[in-house]
C-alpha cells in the first residue's frame, strides 16, 4: 500500500506484537525518550504499553491536553527535536487543536498520537468519537488515521519524517482502539523519502549568483532574519554571511536568538513593537534580504507602503512563501544552511559603515524617548522592562526565555539579551495566550542544563495555570515571572489608543498568585517596590527548583514604539 513508499530496509527481524506496543517500539526507534500526554479510554492500550517502557520513554502527564501539546512545543523549540504528544479521542484530541494550529503557523515539529474509537464504530457517534482527522486537517502538515495494526510502523515512520523535514510542522496520527489491541509483525524502517513530497527544493545557483550581484552592488542593504535560520541550524552560516558583507540585520519575533543580541550587526527587532531604526529604514534600504522569514503582517505593517523602494531577495525553504505577501525580485529556494554558504562565497567583503551608522542615529532617538525610561525608571510603579533588565543582569543572556502573549511578550522580547540560539520560545504566529507555562516546562525538561525563565502576563497565566501541578510533580526548575498589571494589558492598550479608553472586559480581579503557587508547593514571592526587585530576581534565580515571582507593574503602561494596524513601518510611533 501507499504508506510503504520508500522506507529504509528493516533494521531488525520481524517480531510479533500488539499495535500499542508497536507505537512504543516506533518511538524508541525514533530516539524519542520524552513525551507529553494525558490518558483516556481510547488511548488506554498505548498507556498500558507505555508502562513497560518507563525506563526508555518518559511520559509527562500534564493537567490538560493543551498543556501537553504546548509542553511538546517548548521541548521541540528548545531542543530542535520532534515533540511527541499522546491524547485520547474526543475531548482529548480536540484539546490539542490550539497547540496544533500554533505549531503549524510557527513551523514546530510535532507528532501527535490520538486514540480513536474502534474502527467498527467510526461514524456512529460513539462515546468520545470525534472526527479529529477532519478537524485537524487544515492545521496539520499531514495527518493519518490508522485502523490496522500492521500499518502503524509505516505511519509513524512517515509522521516523524514529515514533521521534521523541510519546513517542520505538526503531524497527527489517529489510531483506532482495535488497531492498538490487534497484533502485527513489527518491523521498523525509517522513512527517508516520499515520492509526492519534496521537503527541500534544489538550489538554483543562478539565483544565488543573481542575489550576490545585487548584494555586491547595494549601497544600503538590509537583512531580515526569521526562524528559518534556527530551524535550518544555519546560525553560523548566517553570521558568516552578515560579517563578510557588513550588512545590518534585524529579527522577527521567532528569529530572535539566532544571532546574539549584542552582535554589532544586530540592529534589533522588526514589526509592530520592534525597534525604531529597523522599521523606518526598511523603507530606505535599497536591497532587502529576507532569510527564513515570511513577511507576517505584524512585521510588514501596510504592504502597500512596505519597502517599495527596495529590490527584495528572499531565501526560504518553502516555495509557497515566495511572493505570498511581498513581491520578490530574487527568490533563492533551499535550506538556508546551504544557500547561505553559497551566497557568502559569492559576495564581496564590505562594511557599510555609513549606512550602519544610520541605525545608530535612530537607536539614540529610541533610547532617549522610550528605552531609557523603560529600563531604568526612578519613580512610579515598576516597569516590565525593568524586570527584564534585572533578569539580564543576572543571567547575562544565557537563559531560555519563554513568553506568553501580550505586552509582557513584546517587552521581554525587546529587552532580553541572548547569547545562544534556540533560547527564545514564544507563540508568534498564533499568539496563543496560555502557551508560556507549559512550553517553559517542556523547554526545561528538554534542556535541563539551561536556566528556563517563563515571563507571563496575569491573564495568560490563568489560561494554563493548572500546569503548576505538572511543574511540581516533575520537579522541573522553571522560574516563573508574572508581570501583573491587573489587566489584559495588550487589549487594554488598544482600547486606550483606538477605542477612546473604553476598557471593555479587560480589567481583572486576580487571585493571590503566591498562595496559589504555594498551594502547588512551589516557592513564591510577590514584589511591588522597586527596591525589592533586584534581590527578588536574584533569589528566584538562586533558588534550587521552580519558583514563582509575581511583580506588580504599572497598570496602564503601554508598549512603544508601535506601528498602528494598517500604518506603514516608517510611521512607527514612539509615544
Amino acid at each position: 500500500m501507499y504508506l510503504e513508499a520508500t522506507l529504509t530496509p528493516p533494521i531488525q527481524a520481524k517480531l510479533k506484537t500488539t499495535g500499542a506496543d508497536a507505537v512504543l517500539r516506533s518511538l524508541v526507534e525514533e530516539d524519542v525518550d520524552l513525551i507529553f500526554g494525558y490518558p483516556g479510554g481510547a488511548i488506554m492500550p498505548v498507556y498500558d504499553a507505555l508502562y513497560h517502557y518507563q525506563d526508555r520513554v518518559r511520559h509527562v502527564m500534564t493537567r490538560h491536553e493543551q498543556g501537553a501539546i504546548h509542553a511538546a512545543q517548548g521541548y521541540a523549540r528548545a531542543t530542535g527535536k520532534v515533540g511527541v504528544v499522546l491524547a485520547t479521542s474526543g475531548p482529548g484530541a480536540t484539546n490539542l487543536i490550539t497547540g496544533i494550529a500554533d505549531a503549524m503557523i510557527d513551523s514546530t515539529p510535532l507528532v501527535c498520537i490520538t486514540g480513536q474509537v474502534g474502527s467498527h464504530l467510526l461514524g456512529s457517534d460513539a462515546f468520545q468519537e470525534t472526527d479529529i482527522i477532519s478537524i485537524s486537517m487544515p492545521a496539520t502538515k499531514w495527518n493519518y488515521q490508522v485502523t490496522k495494526a500492521e500499518d502503524l510502523p509505516a505511519a509513524l515512520a512517515r509522521a516523524f519524517f514529515i514533521a521534521k523535514s523541510g519546513r517542520p510542522g505538526p503531524v497527527l496520527i489517529d489510531i483506532t482502539k482495535d488497531a492498538q489491541f490487534a497484533s502485527l509483525d513489527f518491523e521498523y524502517r525509517k522513512c527517508e523519502q516520499i515520492r509526492s513530497y519534496k521537503p527541500v527544493p534544489e538550489i538554483d545557483l543562478n539565483q544565488v549568483r543573481k542575489a550576490a550581484a545585487l548584494i555586491n552592488s547595494a549601497k544600503k542593504p538590509f537583512v531580515l532574519f526569521g526562524q528559518g535560520v534556527i530551524l535550518g541550524n544555519a546560525e553560523e552560516e548566517f553570521r558568516a554571511f552578515i560579517e563578510k558583507t557588513g550588512i545590518p540585520a534585524a529579527w522577527t519575533l521567532l528569529g530572535l536568538s539566532a544571532l546574539s543580541t549584542d552582535h554589532p550587526l544586530n540592529v534589533g527587532m522588526l514589526g509592530m513593537h520592534g525597534n525604531y531604526g529597523p522599521n523606518v529604514l526598511t523603507n530606505e534600504c535599497d536591497v532587502l534580504i529576507a532569510i527564513g522569514m515570511r513577511f507576517d503582517d505584524r512585521v510588514t505593517g501596510n504592504l502597500a507602503t512596505y519597502a517599495k523602494q527596495a529590490k527584495i531577495i528572499h531565501l526560504d525553504i518553502d516555495p509557497s512563501e515566495i511572493n505570498k505577501n511581498v513581491k520578490i525580485d530574487i527568490p533563492v529556494l533551499g535550506n538556508c544552511k546551504e544557500t547561505l554558504t553559497e551566497l557568502t562565497e559569492a559576495v564581496e567583503f564590505n562594511s557599510h559603515s555609513a549606512w550602519r551608522s544610520k541605525f545608530k542615529e535612530y537607536d539614540k532617538v529610541e533610547a532617549e524617548k522610550v528605552i531609557y525610561k523603560e529600563l531604568q525608571p526612578t519613580t512610579g510603579p515598576i516597569s516590565m522592562a525593568e524586570v527584564i533588565n534585572q533578569i539580564n543582569q543576572t543571567t547575562q543572556g544565557d537563559a531560555i526565555l519563554v513568553t506568553d502573549v501580550g505586552q509582557h511578550q513584546m517587552i521581554a522580547c525587546r529587552y532580553t539579551k541572548f547569547i545562544k540560539s534556540k533560547s527564545n520560545i514564544t507563540s508568534g504566529g498564533l499568539g496563543t495566550m496560555g502557551f508560556c507555562l507549559p512550553a517553559a516546562l517542556g523547554a526545561k525538561l528538554g534542556a535541563p542544563e539551561r536556566e528556563v525563565i517563563a515571563v507571563i502576563g496575569d491573564g495568560g497565566f490563568q489560561m494554563t495555570i493548572q500546569e503548576l501541578g505538572t511543574i511540581f510533580q516533575t520537579q522541573a526548575a522553571v522560574k516563573i515571572v508574572i508581570l501583573n498589571n491587573s489587566f489584559l494589558g495588550m487589549v487594554r492598550q488598544w482600547q486606550q489608543l483606538f477605542f477612546d479608553k473604553r476598557y471593555s472586559s479587560t480589567e481583572m480581579v486576580n487571585p493571590d498568585f503566591v498562595a496559589i503557587a504555594k498551594g502547588y508547593r512551589i516557592e513564591a514571592k510577590s514584589v511591588t517596590e522597586r527596591e525589592e526587585l533586584e534581590s527578588a530576581v536574584k533569589e528566584m534565580l538562586r533558588h534550587d527548583g521552580s519558583y514563582l515571582l509575581e511583580v506588580h507593574v504599572g497598570k496602564e503602561d503601554n508598549v512603544f514604539p508601535m506601528i498602528p494596524t494598517g500604518a506603514s513601518v516608517s510611521d512607527i510611533r514612539l509615544d
Binding site: K141, P319, I322
Partner: protein, 168 residues
Amino acid sequence: MERAYTISIFSENSVGLLNRITSIFTRRHVNIDSINSSESENPGIYRFTIVVHTTEEQIKKMVLQIEKQVEVLKAVYHIDEETVFQEIALYKISTQSVAEGNLVETLIRDNNARILSMEQDFMIIEKTGHKEETQDLLEFLRPYGVLEFVRSGRVSVIKPMDELEELK
C-alpha cells in the same frame, strides 16, 4: 481580473486529501465551480480537475499551497485556451411530451447530442461539450418539460507538452 482557471492536481490516492485541497479554497473564500477526480494514465496516480473563478495572483498562491501538500505530486493551473476540456450533461424528458412531432429528434441531431436510453415514460439524452453548449440544449428542451438535468464536473487535459514531464 477574475477569470476561470482549471487546476490539474496529480496525487496519491489517500483518504482525506480532497478535504485538504478544498480547505485551501474555503479558507480564502473562493468557490469551486466544478471538481472531478479519476485515476490518471499512471496507475496509482490520481488526477483532480478543479475549476475556480479567481485572479491570477490568487490562483498562483493557491496552486503553491496545493503542491505543498505532502500527498500531491504536482499541481498546475491553466486558462481555458491552454486546455481541451469537456463536460457531460444528461437530460431526462418525458416521452409523452416529445411524442408530438420529431422536433426533439432534430434538436438532438443539431446539437450533437444522443439518446442514451429510451423508456416507456421518459428518455435520457446525453450531450458532451462546453458548459454553454449543454446549457443551450437545456434551454431548447425546456418547453418539452425537463424532468431531470445534471452536468458533470469539467474534465480537461492540458495542451503544453512539457509541463508534466516529471510525472513520467
